[in-house]
Subunit: 428 residues, 4 copies
């Protein structure tokens, strides 16, 4: 571990880059857009700006920068997300109740913390402190990258709730090319899953590297499209209990779900809310904003199934000859299928940079997993009681954030993340 | 009816005054403060700015100004509060989900409508149109005055929720003089209640004028103070079911109420959130922000009772030799007892300009009441199924809005309005 | 007060009669029918049997019968309904969770208390004790009579929930005669309302007798029929917000109400669940099982209004030349209109013995009302915060329980009681 | 497959045995005890009697017995539990609202179906029909055995809610011997998990047999005792967020959990409700009625972990030299530790016949799993979206129902089943 921590100035640069990227995401927002929280799961944009800053302040500056004075002690209550061992925190669903601190105050907070990080990193640090600080800085950077994606998820939701057709982006909506579907074979056997966590960054939940046996199976090259999903809808998929888990059926009945999130029908045609405003549904585009329940129902209807996270990890390493390049920094904020994806028949298309893919796996600790000591142990481990795993990455994921071992997770009913469906099937 | 509608320019002046007063109330707010809705009963400040404007647009301009083009057709959905006959409207509790229209757009909306009202009123109007328009304008002005008070209620609530000690006002908190309590007699008999609604403005719910018999009774000159209410708290008032209605007891148990809204205890001392930030509770000041349930429980504990709205109206006309002058425009935003109140022993102190007083009366139509035709019939009549009546007015009520026949009403559990307690008792 | 308390043996007889009537009501029930609680407002039949017994035990025997030993101390928790000053009590909505005590144990409890009451009343009692005991016995008898009606309400509800067509009665459903509607005039003036509470029994809430001024008005001779109510339904009454209070509209939208309780449509025809099983709706019969909200909406649709409780009390005394005789003991458990009602044009039909009539009055204390000391003060007074008043009586009210001053009350949304609509209108 | 289906008369005998065992469980109940449903998860005893009967009727008689006439067509609505493809069914949480059918009617229903099964099995059946019928009969018998355990779970819950100290059993509570804890090693490697489903009965969810790799680990011989769990409680385990999953912490905070279900403190001592009435907590006895959340929190506090279902299955086959014999038919309805368990150091104690053991595994389909066609596909597969797995069996599980491959499952927050904790740890 640690060669990657030799060069401090590179890290300072990455830090500054990441920080300014977050602000770049918010550039087009009005002050009012920073404040609202239109669903308890969604956070106000200004909260993301503050929370990511608080993370660096509390986990690095408070501990390592001599004589560091917190920007404002009271912000701790507001910007602590869920770290119980860090003290009380504001209720997540009530973040939208707070007009203060203002956006301007939070921007000052960001600058103050940035300056202090700069001071810390440009000052004298012994080997041990440097390693420890840069390791935490790396975590903080990855943490902020996660929130960049969350910011885009939440901005999309807040804008979509608004009855006005508000657009985050003013460019033309990117259209998708059609893509034929084929199934690629993966051999069964004993595989290594996860990472050691030593040579390069990964979250604790990707460790330890361990053996998993999988049977041979076939995985689809491409994601399920809106066009295919529409067939499911037209075939009465949302009204036939056969395709749904028991919990899922209760949910869609009580919530009257009849289509993915953001879809609406107008005069017999389907539209969806996008970051580019309202658009006619593009049938070539991979279907997005579906819950695990919908992904699983679709798979059952299609007489296929979803992969496990182990199958997916193996397949992504065996088959992904080239990865898509539709990452966040490209600012093409739709799960668009570009032509470049089709150059090779034998690889997984849109593996990264398309949509998060729902796995038929509940999120648990890997065998031998040990949570970090202290508050950072809460980062991942306290959620390891079985939400559903998503793998891959999406068009709102920063480029450096992709990894075939990455384990994202959400509850089975959530669908405001950029999620899609990759099918697989057993060899018979 | 109608002499008061002879002079158009006076009305235009009053209109403009009222409109700018609303904006004056919002002057110190940050953009973020206009957006939040920290409770379903509370509306964002920017919503009040828009809704009051919509009222003039929909009820006057759309009907009377030739070729009038709505500022933005889509605003109708957002700024219609509850007029079912005007079409769909946004859910009240979800107003805080909307970042758009922005404050700046709403200010343009206000200017646009102001200019159009000016155009309408300075153009040619025949007698009939003038009478009709000015009558609606008068209603719209009174409507906006109601929302001025609501704005202050809602700003107070939104600020109080914030864990930072945010102040709407930076001046010193006004302190109260002590006031002795005495009971004044009112003779029984048959009295006229309400108004004809012809010579001066009143809401439809104050009409028709009709006879009510009341028995002789005694009413207290002054409102119950924080000091007296604290005695009730210390005597375990919130934990003894004897004082509480059955519904009230269920409520305070489930909500863990132990004091008025905005009160909190710190190291054995009571404080409250005010529009001037956090303050030590002033024991001389009339108690405020109590629900009907608390008012009634206090009265029972004190072996007194609350007056009916008929008793109150009679008493206010018989006994109120001079009224308090602590109206909204004075910008003394606390239920302060000034020395001037004590010049005469035989009158009701703080009758207007102190706090709304909870009545032991459910809000129903007066005998012979007829609701206005059309959407404006919804203004008052659809709430006449028994919420509790409050009488008087408060320090956030505009001066011209006071009237001894005025009937305010809220559900028995609400307490974010500026409400207080006036006791009375039977002659024995 | 008190002459009526001279003859102990008459009272003992009345007591025994009342007690055995309660059991007579339950005669046809299966054991299982005594246990269920199909709605939080509804109580299991066995609970009524126990609670009415507990009332005599706690308020009379424990205090007056020397060496009285409670049947079972633990029953206190279960059978105390809501008397906070009597200690903890089981949650009302959870009464159906208790299989024990069994029906058989409760019947033993009844016998045990009956024997003890007999012992008390046949033993020596001085004048003071006799007066006090008989006064409480009278209250207990009236209390049990109230529960006889509640028993029938609750049995009806529990049976109606059952998907099987369960009948409480096996006789033929009694059919109604048609009845023409006319309006009778009542003169305005100052009237005496309520009772002194001295010469004959009444509840505390009917006292003190006091003066109320009413304007002249007209009241309809007969109740609104199912046929008339069906016109309201067909005229889209449940889907037009104009007729409904704001709270009512929210309720019927969220609950999807489209007809009175117990009504259901089958192949284009309306049926209802009755105590005689499922029946085609009888158009001549007065409409029943409607909430205050529905009564008020119907009245608005019909361009009439509901009477106040004061108007009703005056009218019932001025105009009710003869009362209906369809009381509980007749066991004709439907709001049937018999021919005998029509002998005189100038009286109110079905005043008693038909259906409880919703008043446009919220339930409050009369002027000068003083609640009894102790737990019995909770009997009525803690509900005097504004539920809606019903007047009259119904086919499930025991004969001796009728009184023109009687004040029944329920929340505006309830409709499992035997409630109906009597209209009135202003003189113009 | 199928040799076990050669002898019809053996199957008829097993059928009759199972059916009468169900009735034997209910023998001591009062009629009232059959009716109540004191929690939405719990069903009335009479419902279990009816539903198990309905299962035989619908899945066998309706299809195979010529001219079979259903006992009562209306029962279908009531006794269909959750088979959507069988038509509408009554809401699970509302089963306690139904007084009818009565217990007596349901007993007739049982007899009627028993007679018809007898008729079917004693009549002529060709090979194919016999195989199909007996296969379904076997499933129905296993289904009824599951409900025997559910009956005991639900009776316990219904009795425990009752404030009276009601006992299902009148014998003395069986006391437990102390048992030392040791950890037994299991070797890592590739193991076969599950069954083929051909030679002997198993549920579809135990198939197909497939390979799983596990690392070597150690598993504790005995279950965690009440005494050990009490240490966790005393160490403030329920009030320290470190031990709890995020969801779990939210739950125990909102529900104020401070001990296992059925535990209560009286004068500083812990008691619990048992099927033998209230008892002092036996410290030697394995702790029971804990949720997955509590099991996981205890494990974290103890610096151990829960096994996965694969580890457990392997361990149970490698190490369980002898199984406990505390199965349901013994009628020792407590998780008692008898002396016989300690004869051998190297085996797992209480593996079967003690308590269900919570696994660190979410319930999903095994690789290659195919759900049965038709309604029986709903039996297990629609719950395979991640509830938590329990393994083993308990003192209320019928003897023939034990199997090391058996997969029980409940949501992580449930604790009215007879659940306990077996710890394991990694080799280091």
């Amino acid at each position: 571990m640690g060669q990657r921590f030799d060069n401090i100035s590179t890290w300072l640069n990455t830090y500054e880059c990441t920080r300014s990227t977050t602000e770049w995401i918010c550039e087009g927002l009005e002050i009012e857009d920073y404040v609202v929280q239109s669903h308890p799961d969604v956070s106000p944009a200004k909260w993301h700006l503050g929370h990511t800053t608080w993370f660096f302040e509390q986990f690095i500056l408070v501990k390592f920068l001599k004589n560091y004075k917190c920007f404002n002690e009271q912000l701790h209550l507001i910007f602590n997300s869920y770290y119980k061992s860090m003290g009380n925190h504001w209720i997540q669903g009530d973040r939208g109740q707070l007009s203060r601190p203002t956006v301007s105050e939070i921007k000052h907070y960001r600058q103050y913390v940035n300056a202090s990080i700069n001071e810390l990193l440009t000052g004298y640090l012994d080997e041990k402190a440097r390693m420890e600080i840069l390791s935490l800085l790396e975590l903080g950077i990855n943490h902020e990258q996660q929130h960049q994606e969350l910011l885009l998820m939440d901005i999309k939701y807040n804008f979509a709730v608004n009855p006005f057709n508000v657009s985050y982006l003013t460019e033309n909506y990117p259209s998708s090319y059609p893509c034929s579907a084929s199934y690629l074979s993966v051999k069964g056997g004993l595989y290594q899953i996860g990472q050691s966590g030593i040579d390069r960054f990964c979250y604790d939940n990707e460790t330890p590297r361990h053996k998993v046996h999988i049977d041979s199976f076939q995985i689809r090259n491409s994601l399920v499209t809106n066009g295919e999903y529409l067939e499911f809808i037209k075939d009465n998929g949302y009204n036939c209990p056969d395709y749904w888990y028991s919990d899922a059926w209760a949910l869609i009945q009580s919530q009257c779900w009849q289509a993915p999130l953001y879809w609406f029908e107008k005069e017999g045609h389907w539209f969806y809310k996008t970051l580019y405003g309202e658009q006619a549904v593009d049938l070539n585009e991979p279907v997005s904003h579906i819950s695990f329940y919908e992904a699983a129902a679709f798979a059952k209807w299609a007489k296929k199934r979803l992969p496990t996270e182990f199958e997916w990890e193996v397949a992504s390493q065996e088959l992904a000859l080239s990865v898509s390049n539709n990452f966040m920094e490209k600012r093409k904020f739709a799960p668009v299928l570009s032509q470049i994806d089709f150059t090779n028949d034998n690889h997984l298309i849109s593996l990264h940079g398309g949509l998060w893919e729902w796995m038929q796996s509940s999120y648990h600790a890997y065998p031998g997993y040990v949570a970090p000591e202290g508050a950072l142990g809460e980062y991942n481990s306290k959620f390891m009681n079985g939400p559903m795993v998503l793998r891959g990455g999406c068009y709102a994921t920063p480029e450096q954030h992709y990894r075939s071992t990455y384990r994202n997770f959400f509850n089975a009913d959530k669908r405001w993340m950029f999620s899609g469906i990759r099918l697989c099937k057993d060899n018979t």
